[in-house]
């Protein structure tokens, strides 16, 4: 699989991992889903270099990364906007660039957002674990985070025939405020009415302690009706878990599959790409959505 070259890490950056669509369906074995945190940007990177969306990309964290391609290829940088260079010369962000063998592609520090995605024609061909090449930082599955000098193989590019690849794609720069829709439950009854209101009226900020496991927040604590912890129960992606100190934690791709702190609400998966790009200090606002599932409109308190 390495016949088509690979990428050599020149500058790994703060944290750069291999990501794809993750390994859903194994939560009952204690295996986190993992996968790209900003799935929208991951899919876009693959689209722009002609890959299926399941191909693996590189996910950077705040400071970008630089890689040398060992054979001619096409690459693109999406996700968090950043200065892109090829051999030190400016190159477009969000547009595929043709690279000669030996060229160094650098994604600089994010100017907005957190995570940029480097897509390569053929995708990053790290070994699959349970069907996925994603690095799972909670349980240590998948390839190790990039380190300087590390080489990763690339796959064979998809045949170009028939697939229309756009030259450029629209992108919305992350705003000054992260708005997260929340459907209450399953454990909203562990909180007082005031606590439920605080979630959707309080001003929160993204904590610097956030990572691929969870987006932590700083802000008012949510008052609880009952103390203690739950017997371990399954935790969904997007769960807003509230530990005893009361600040909500939004579970992202590498979240633990079971937990013992109450989940006051769940953020739809479609909103999590934005969460992946919310830098520490970003304002966070939770907005209630009707729980369309089993309680109808019950359990949604008035916003004020």
């Amino acid at each position: 699989m390495t016949a088509d070259g690979g990428v050599e890490t020149v500058r790994a950056g703060a944290l750069t991992t291999v990501q794809d669509l993750g390994r859903p369906g194994y939560a009952h074995l204690g295996v986190p889903r993992s996968g790209a945190l900003d799935l929208t940007a991951h899919r876009l990177a693959n689209l722009l270099v002609g890959n299926p969306e399941s191909a693996a990309t590189l996910e950077t964290t705040l400071t970008g990364c630089a890689v040398r391609v060992l054979a001619p290829t096409t690459a693109v940088v999406t996700g968090a906007p950043c200065p892109v260079t090829v051999d030190g010369r400016p190159a477009p962000w969000g547009q595929p660039v043709r690279l000669r063998a030996g060229a160094v592609l650098e994604a600089g520090a994010a100017t907005h957002g957190v995570r940029s995605y480097l897509g390569f024609a053929g995708g990053v061909e790290a070994d699959r674990v349970l069907g996925s090449r994603a690095t799972d930082l909670l349980s240590g599955l998948g390839p190790a985070p990039l380190s300087d000098g590390a080489v990763l193989p690339l796959g064979a590019p998809s045949p170009a025939g028939g697939r229309a690849v756009p030259d450029v794609a629209p992108w919305r720069v992350p705003g000054p405020e992260l708005v997260l829709p929340v459907g209450y439950g399953p454990r909203d009854d562990w909180f007082t009415a005031e606590g439920l209101r605080t979630l959707v009226t309080g001003t929160y900020r993204v904590s610097a302690a956030s990572n691929r496991i969870g987006l932590r927040t700083e802000g008012p604590a949510l008052a609880r009706r009952r103390e203690g912890e739950l017997a371990s129960e399954g935790m969904p992606l997007g769960a807003i878990q509230v530990p005893p100190e009361g600040r909500p934690v939004l579970f992202l791709a590498d979240h633990p599959t079971t937990g013992g702190y109450p989940v006051i609400g769940v953020v739809p998966a479609a909103a999590l790409s934005a969460a992946a790009q919310a830098a520490p200090g970003t304002a966070v606002r939770f907005t209630p959505v009707r729980s369309g599932s089993v309680r109808g409109s019950a359990g949604v308190p008035p916003p004020r």
Binding site: P24, G25, Y26, A27, H28, L29, G30, V31, V129, L130, L138, S139, L141, G183, Y184, G185, P186, R187, N211, I213, G214, R226, E227, G228, E229, L230, A231, S232, E233, G234, M235, P236, L237, G238, Q241, P243, V249, H255, P256, T257, T258, G259, G260, Y261, V263, V266, V267, P268, V289, S291, G292, S293, V294, R295, G299
Partner: protein
């Protein structure tokens, strides 16, 4: 990483007052409580661990025969089953309406194979556990090895199963001072659960033995996980650790039939609806601490 330190706040029924109440509850199970999880998921909460395991088994049966709407994840917990990622919220709503009316058969011993885990009962907490049980250390080994366990749920780390089967009088608290390093293969007890550490980590479970031959998690193997929810498990003493009286570990002389457990015999006659050999019903029990074996939690603290 995950869970409860304070059982007094855990949801669930009060402790069963006695065998009669257990029998009543077995005859008329408390209907499950169904809670919303986002727009296309459900959390089904049950009154007991037994009902939870029985519902999980029923869900797997229905998934296998195609009568369950497609769902991305079925994740059992101590008293819950999470059903996440139905194809639509309408499917989730329909199932939420139907499920309380299901006739869920109690678990039966079944004919499934039992995973045997060879274990050397040499853990550093064996004497402490023996003291808590009020028996000699070799008796801890004998009773533990005579118990049929079942994986109630997984979590904490890939390959880690929370095994139920020890009757309530044998439930022990976690260690007051967690260890900074528990070796891979360590067999521990905490609350209602027995577990085998799939890898080295910090941990607070009471270690009674070592499983040196068993690989719980191997991504090069199919399936990678030796233990999945519902898997039956027996611990087989390695040579030299067998019962001193020569009685085999699978002789059926389980905890329920042995000497009175330290907590009295209130549960001895309370066989559950599942007729699961020597397993006592869990109705009256509650994990005194269902936390993951690691104390500094990956889930909460990272």
């Amino acid at each position: 990483m995950t869970a409860p330190a304070d059982p007094t706040a855990a949801p669930g029924p009060p402790a069963a007052p006695g065998p009669a109440a257990v029998a009543d509850r077995a005859a008329v199970p408390t209907p499950p409580v169904i809670r919303p999880v986002g727009s296309s998921g459900l959390l089904v909460e049950l009154a007991t661990a037994e009902q939870t395991e029985a519902l999980h088994a029923e869900l797997l049966r229905r998934r296998a025969d195609g009568s369950l709407p497609p769902v991305g994840e079925i994740v059992p917990g101590a008293r819950t089953v999470l059903l996440d990622e139905f194809g639509s919220s309408a499917q989730a709503r329909r199932l939420a309406a139907e499920l309380p009316g299901w006739q869920v058969p109690p678990l039966t011993a079944g004919s499934e194979t039992v995973v045997e885990i060879p274990v050397r009962y040499d853990g550093p907490d064996l004497a402490d556990v023996a003291a808590l049980w009020g028996v000699a250390p070799e008796e801890v080994a004998r009773r533990h090895a005579a118990t049929e366990f079942r994986v109630a749920f997984c979590g904490f780390a890939p390959g880690f199963g929370y095994l139920t089967g020890l009757p309530e009088p044998y439930h022990v608290p976690r260690r007051a001072t967690p260890r900074t390093r528990v070796p891979v293969g360590a067999v521990g007890l905490a609350g209602a659960y027995t577990g085998v550490y799939p890898r080295s980590s910090p941990g607070g479970w009471q270690l009674i033995g070592t499983a040196p031959e068993t690989v719980l998690w191997d991504t090069a193997r199919t399936p990678a996980a030796l233990l999945a929810p519902g898997t039956r498990v027996r611990f087989v003493p390695l040579d030299g650790d067998g019962p001193p009286d020569g009685d085999g570990p699978r002789g059926g002389d389980g905890p329920a039939d042995g000497d009175s457990p330290p907590g009295g015999d209130g549960t001895r006659d309370g066989r559950g609806p599942s007729d699961r050999g020597n397993r006592l019903p869990a109705e009256g029990s509650r994990p005194s601490d269902a936390d993951g074996p690691r104390t500094e939690g990956s889930g909460r603290d990272r």
